[in-house]
Symmetry: C2
Subunit: 345 residues, 2 copies
């Protein structure tokens, strides 16, 4: 096995945006589909209750990468699908994702999201909970309109697993003894399962055999794990302005993410005492704690080695696509893996 | 039209529990089904994440009337259904209901539910939001297992409408100019649509013609409206110990319910000044405000006349069942309407 050369912190923090081209390439390959999905999303956000489209637009129109619906569109095209059913399903996936974002921000008491105030900061926690419920219901309405019980099964299973993952995360919060394995199980459930489902339904809508569904599920699941690990690194290592949320949010919440777990496991007893106190929640945190935590993570190569772990999952995702014949979408999906791992935002 | 004699407050407050026999009769007619549903509910609450069954059992096992799943079971039997598919669908209905209860208690910051501490009081708001999401997903998993797209459509539509109703309610909170019509639209969406769906899927599972679905939908919708009006009266007029939640919760939240709206519309300008301040939220409330509000509602016959409105919807519900041939379940469903309107808890 090749030795993974850890990047120095300064190197790490300068990387990223260079690979955005991969995302743009994938977007351009399914540009018409993506435009149709965006239109469908705006259209199906509508409700006679004005606060719902207002709040939902706040979060959905604010952008975000639309990575999950993009995966559905791309995987369907990769499977040779030529119809339009995947538009509704991609919109469903984005609605489920957005519902979980709204509820996450309430649960985490986060006040920044995608570079602006989060929905709960602007509209309050109550509306965020309820509009999340609305988007979730709307996702199922879209799936029902499509009529595939297979898709309904895949996405209702994913949704149940996501919420279990979120609860698991709640239980590990503030617990500095959380293991890397427990962390992995949390991010698999809360993040990667929706990536997996988003990819898999591309094969379902194209009527491809189960083996192909499995292949795309593997791609999505591993991409999703890599994505979340990198997200968790960026929460500490990114520059505030490129991140679009507050650096150190995870720290203030005492969230047990991989760079923290690595630093704890590699640290001295004195450092573990620091982590125990600092991760116990913001009420026990002092000025300078975040900077000290970042210094410890750098000292123990926690950013670079977390990214190396992400790279491992990225490699599994890339290999999953092996059996697919050459196709511009295939190349773009491979490049997306690298973008996901190496991005700086 | 017959004159509706308003009950005196003291009469009103002594009524109720006498009619519980109607509920017991309905339960006994579908006792085996109900036992199967209860077992299914407990079984499908399970999750490897221990906090989920703990929290979910807290609210589901705490009892409640199981009115909505009972309606599904009863309506299916009334339609001549002899199978067991309705067990899963009844459990779905209860899961959706429970998910909305969990989210409601977070949104309303309620700390009592069914005579004990609410889930959010015991387990925190974060877990309540997430376990609500889990139950909602689980409801859809159960429907997918059943495989009826008609049921999926009916319940995903109902779910979307419920969350819209909850948001509408949020918008009317603290607004003392809220109209009776706006109130009606809120309770129809947030409460009655799920009653309607619960009844309607009884006909769907029995494979009955659309007209019969419509009949049961009408029954459920009107029963649900009556149910919510009475609930809103009881929030002021019930005795604490029989209510199982805190008397005056709606008042403290500035919720615009029918007895309040009637008292405002019938009151003097000075009274309206009182209502404006008192309904602006607990921060503007003073000792004695709740008692004064109750006194104003009694003076303006707001409890009795709200109950009269409920009785109107109850009558529509009863008439809906007219076309069904004589059947013990039919009689029980008719009696349930009276129980719903006249109950004291």
């Amino acid at each position: 096995m090749a030795t993974i050369l850890p990047l120095k912190a300064t190197q790490y923090e300068k990387r990223g945006a260079t690979d955005e081209a991969a995302l743009e390439t994938l977007e351009s390959l399914v540009a018409d589909d993506l435009a149709a999905v965006n239109q469908l999303i705006l259209q199906r956000l509508d409700s006679p209750v004005a606060l719902i489209p207002q709040l939902a637009r706040h979060i959905i129109a604010a952008g975000g990468k639309r990575l999950r619906p993009l995966l559905t569109l791309a995987c369907a095209r990769l499977c040779g699908y030529e119809g339009e059913r995947h538009h509704k399903l991609a919109a469903s996936v984005e609605f489920i994702h957005t519902a979980t974002l709204l509820h996450d921000d309430v649960v985490d008491a986060s006040y920044l999201r995608r570079g602006g105030p989060s929905a709960n900061a602007t509209f309050g926690n109550q509306a965020s909970v309820l509009v999340g419920d609305f988007l979730f219901s709307r996702a199922f309405q879209l799936m029902v309109e499509d009529g595939s019980l297979d898709v309904l099964r895949i996405l209702s299973n994913a949704s149940a697993i996501i919420s279990q993952g979120e609860v698991m995360q709640l239980v590990t919060n503030n617990d500095s003894t959380t293991s890397e394995q427990a962390y992995l199980e949390v991010i698999r459930a809360k993040t990667a399962e929706l990536f997996a489902a988003a990819c898999r339904i591309g094969a379902v809508v194209a009527g491809r055999p189960l083996a192909e569904e499995e292949t795309l599920r593997t791609y999505g699941l591993n991409l999703g794990i890599a994505f979340q690990i990198v997200d968790d690194v960026l929460d500490y290592a990114a520059e505030q302005k490129s991140l679009g949320k507050a650096v150190g949010d995870d720290f203030r919440e005492g969230k047990m993410t991989l760079p923290v777990i690595l630093a704890i496991h590699r640290g001295s007893e004195a450092e573990r005492t620091f982590w125990r106190r600092a991760l116990n929640g913001h009420q026990d945190q002092r000025d300078g704690d975040l900077a000290h935590a970042q210094e410890l993570m750098r000292r123990h190569n926690a950013y670079a080695d977390s990214t190396a772990r992400a790279r491992h999952y990225g490699a599994v995702a890339r290999d999953a696509l092996g059996p697919f014949p050459a196709h511009p979408v295939k190349d773009a999906l491979l490049d997306i893996v690298d973008f996901t791992v190496e991005r700086g935002f």
